[in-house]
């Protein structure tokens, strides 16, 4: 009889796997998609994947530092989204499209 605790009891490992999966999805989005807004969303996914890791370890170790870190990450993510979206709006106004390759026009 194989040990089925793995399926019945949700532990640290599950959270870490979930976090890794979300992170990888996010990364794939960043690397593959062309739409700037989708890329921004993917970055959010990556950040939140990391957040899950923080919270999981915080709970596992019984320490609060991880959760504090999450608040920081959320704050930064909000700021980053604001800047990113502003850029996206600017690009859209100029080119009527938010394709990431238009950012290449910014190089000197």
């Amino acid at each position: 009889m194989p040990n089925l605790d793995f399926l019945t009891e949700v532990g640290l490992t599950h959270y870490l796997i979930l976090s890794a999966v979300i992170f990888c999805i996010g990364m794939a989005g960043v690397l593959l998609r062309r739409n700037a807004i989708v890329i921004l969303m993917s970055i959010e996914l990556m950040l939140n994947g990391v957040n899950i890791t923080f919270v999981a370890f915080s709970s596992y170790l019984g320490k609060m530092e991880g959760q504090i870190m999450v608040f920081f990450v959320l704050t930064i993510a909000a700021a980053e989204a604001a800047v990113g979206l502003a850029l996206a709006v600017a690009i859209f106004k100029r080119f009527k499209e938010v394709n990431i390759r238009f950012f290449e026009n910014l190089k000197g």
């Binding site: 990364m27 960043v30 690397l31 593959l32 990431i100 390759r101 950012f103 290449e104 190089k107």
Partner: protein, 642 residues
């Protein structure tokens, strides 16, 4: 005023003039620019006179005013002060430089009146005075060298003053480069003296000189003085570096008078006199100096006999007279060298300015074949030139007689002298009398060959006043150095010159000589000069067809001399052209084909290597993100694999 303030004013007044005229170099008023420049030169002259009065008030042994402004260089053993000295030697020089210099500035106002760059001209002239004062007043070799280079620069700028004329610009270049060769030797000489004595200060060097002469050619003092002498041959136009001076006549005539006759070219003589105890301890150097001096005196005089350009004749005359000064240095007669330096400054400046007046009157014509009979049109110029002529050919009692006679007597009688040197000197005197008389005949006397279109006119007073002053000096300038034998006959007239220079110049112990011998030699040289002058007069006034007949008879020799012994051509053929060819070959084979090729190969390698990885940086943001991710994955996997 204190001596420091006097010294500062003396040196800086021309520099201030240079700055003022230099900043307003586009202005065209000759009166303003010349007025400023002449005033500055005159201020310097007044300061020199005041300083020399101070100097004369001191007791004979301690006649030496040193003013030190600041420490200039202090590195390990090398200590150089920016300090200046007025002693009997430099006092004569500053009087000549500022005195004759002021007169020439004054003359220039008239001469350069219509020139467009007149303010620039006066700025250069004042800068020259400043540098010349640095040269003669500096109390160590390095300060002297600063002035030495500075006057070289001004000489270059003024020779090439009309630089739009290719030939004149080239003449300036030639002077500069020829001087550079001498200057390199001068620096080597300084190195050797510093290694030997550990100081560059004249006073210290002269007091550290060993008491017995050295006889080896490779001993430090002999080598050092030889190198310094090579430097002097560059600046003072002696064999083998004299070739630049005749070409330097491309500059404005007052410049030729000031720089290339009266002051700068005598810097080499001054330097040797300044270091006279040192040179006396190197008999080999003295012999070289004497032989080069005598040879230059004769060689340049022979060339002077065949030239047709009034300024070229005077230029070769200058080279020849400088040869006399070096002959005097070489036989240990430093006082006589300084004496001739001063009298030569008077009469040669006079003659150059006179020739300037002639050229001015003839509308820029310099060829004596197109002159003649100018006595009628230019009475003042003729009269003053006449006195200069009497002075240079050595007719008593004019200035040149006393100084030249002193040199000839010393070259015969001094322990360093030789009868051969005397012969060359006397021959040079005869040749001098010939070519100067020829110049007088062709320019002022005889039949007029002036073209009909030219109407010569006497120069304005502004130009003739300096001529008159210099003529007066050419007459009386020699009376301060009357030799003992003559002085005794005339009633115990002392030799003021010798007394003045006594504390700073070593007088060699002369073997006893009968007064009759001195009289005889004096008479012989004067007689030679007078006969030679008479022959020239006969040739060029009474029988103008004879010189041509004579020239045809000795055609090869005449051609040789007329072409200045082909020295320029020889320099080109033996030194300059091979050097240019060698440089071109080195440029082609070493630089282009080796060094350039090597760097091209290296740069190609770098560019190729860059091309390989250039594709990685293509501006695609997502690709960059990919590199980051791959990097992280790679790092993590390496960490995990361990």
């Amino acid at each position: 005023m204190t001596q420091t303030a006097l010294m500062a004013t003396l040196i800086l007044a021309p520099f201030v003039g240079f700055l003022i005229n230099g900043f307003r170099y586009r202005k065209h008023s000759a009166n303003v620019a010349g007025g400023i420049a002449t005033t500055m030169a005159a201020i310097s002259f007044i300061c020199s006179v005041l300083l020399i009065l101070d100097l004369m008030a001191l007791p004979t042994e301690s006649r030496r005013i040193v003013v030190s402004f600041f420490d200039w260089i202090r590195v390990a053993d090398l200590k150089v002060n920016m300090s200046f000295v007025v002693d009997p030697i430099s006092s004569i020089m500053i009087l000549v430089i500022t005195g004759v210099g002021s007169l020439i500035h004054l003359f220039s106002i008239g001469y350069m009146h219509h020139d467009k760059g007149v303010a620039k001209y006066f700025a250069y002239l004042n800068l020259f005075l400043f540098n010349m004062l640095l040269l003669v007043l500096g109390d160590n070799l390095l300060v002297m060298f600063v002035g030495w280079e500075g006057v070289g620069l001004c000489s270059y700028l003024l020779i090439g003053f009309w630089f739009t004329d290719q030939e004149k610009a080239a003449a300036g270049m030639k002077a500069f480069i020829t001087n550079r060769i001498g200057d390199a030797a001068f620096i080597l000489g300084m190195f050797i003296l510093f290694l030997t004595f550990g100081t560059l200060n004249f006073h210290e060097i002269n007091s550290l000189v060993p008491s017995s002469p050295e006889f080896s050619w490779l001993a430090p003092i002999t080598l050092g003085t030889l190198f310094l002498f090579i430097g002097a041959t560059g600046k003072s136009a002696q064999i083998p570096l004299y070739v630049w001076l005749p070409d330097a006549m491309a500059g404005p005539t007052p410049v030729s008078a000031l720089i290339h006759a009266a002051t700068m070219v005598t810097a080499g003589v001054y330097m040797i006199v300044r270091l006279n105890p040192l040179f006396l301890m190197a008999p080999n150097t003295l012999a070289v100096v004497a032989i080069i001096g005598a040879a230059t005196a004769v060689l340049a005089a022979t060339i002077g006999m065949t030239q047709w350009d009034i300024k070229k004749i005077l230029a070769y005359s200058t080279v020849s007279q400088l040869g006399y000064m070096f002959l005097a240095c070489g036989v240990g007669a430093f006082g006589a060298a300084m004496f001739h330096l001063m009298t030569h400054a008077f009469f040669k400046a006079l003659m150059f300015l006179g020739s300037g007046s002639v050229i001015h009157a003839m509308h820029e014509e310099q060829d004596v074949r197109k002159m003649g009979g100018l006595k009628k049109y230019l009475p003042i110029t003729h009269l003053t030139f006449f006195f200069g002529w009497l002075a240079i050919i050595g007719v008593p009692p004019f200035a040149g007689f006393f100084s030249k006679d002193e040199i000839l007597w010393m070259s015969f009688q001094s322990p360093h002298g030789h009868v051969g040197l005397w012969t060359m000197g006397a021959l040079g005197a005869a040749l001098t009398a010939f070519y100067m008389t020829r110049l007088m005949c062709l320019t002022f006397w005889g039949k007029s060959r002036v073209p009909k279109t030219v109407h010569p006119h006497e120069s304005p007073l502004l130009m003739t006043i300096p001529l008159m002053v210099l003529a007066l000096l050419s007459i009386v300038g020699g009376w301060i150095g009357i030799p003992h034998v003559i002085g005794e006959v005339l009633g115990h007239i002392p030799n003021i010159w010798e007394h003045w220079l006594e504390p700073v110049i070593v007088v060699p112990t002369m073997p006893h000589a009968e007064a009759s011998l001195e009289w005889g030699l004096m008479g012989a040289s004067v007689l030679l000069a007078v006969i030679s002058a008479a022959v020239a007069y006969h040739f060029y006034v009474q029988a103008p067809e004879k010189p041509k007949a004579l020239a045809d008879k000795i055609k090869p020799i005449y051609e040789l001399i007329l072409n200045k012994y082909f020295v320029d051509e020889a320099y080109f053929g033996l030194i300059i052209n091979p050097l240019v060819r060698a440089s071109r070959n080195i440029w082609y084979y070493v630089d282009v084909n080796f060094i350039d090729k090597t760097t091209y190969v290296i740069s190609d390698l770098v560019r190729g290597g860059g091309g390989l990885v250039r594709g990685l940086q293509n501006g695609n943001i997502q690709q960059y993100a990919m590199y980051i991710s791959l990097g992280v994955v790679l790092t993590l996997s390496i960490l995990l694999m361990r």
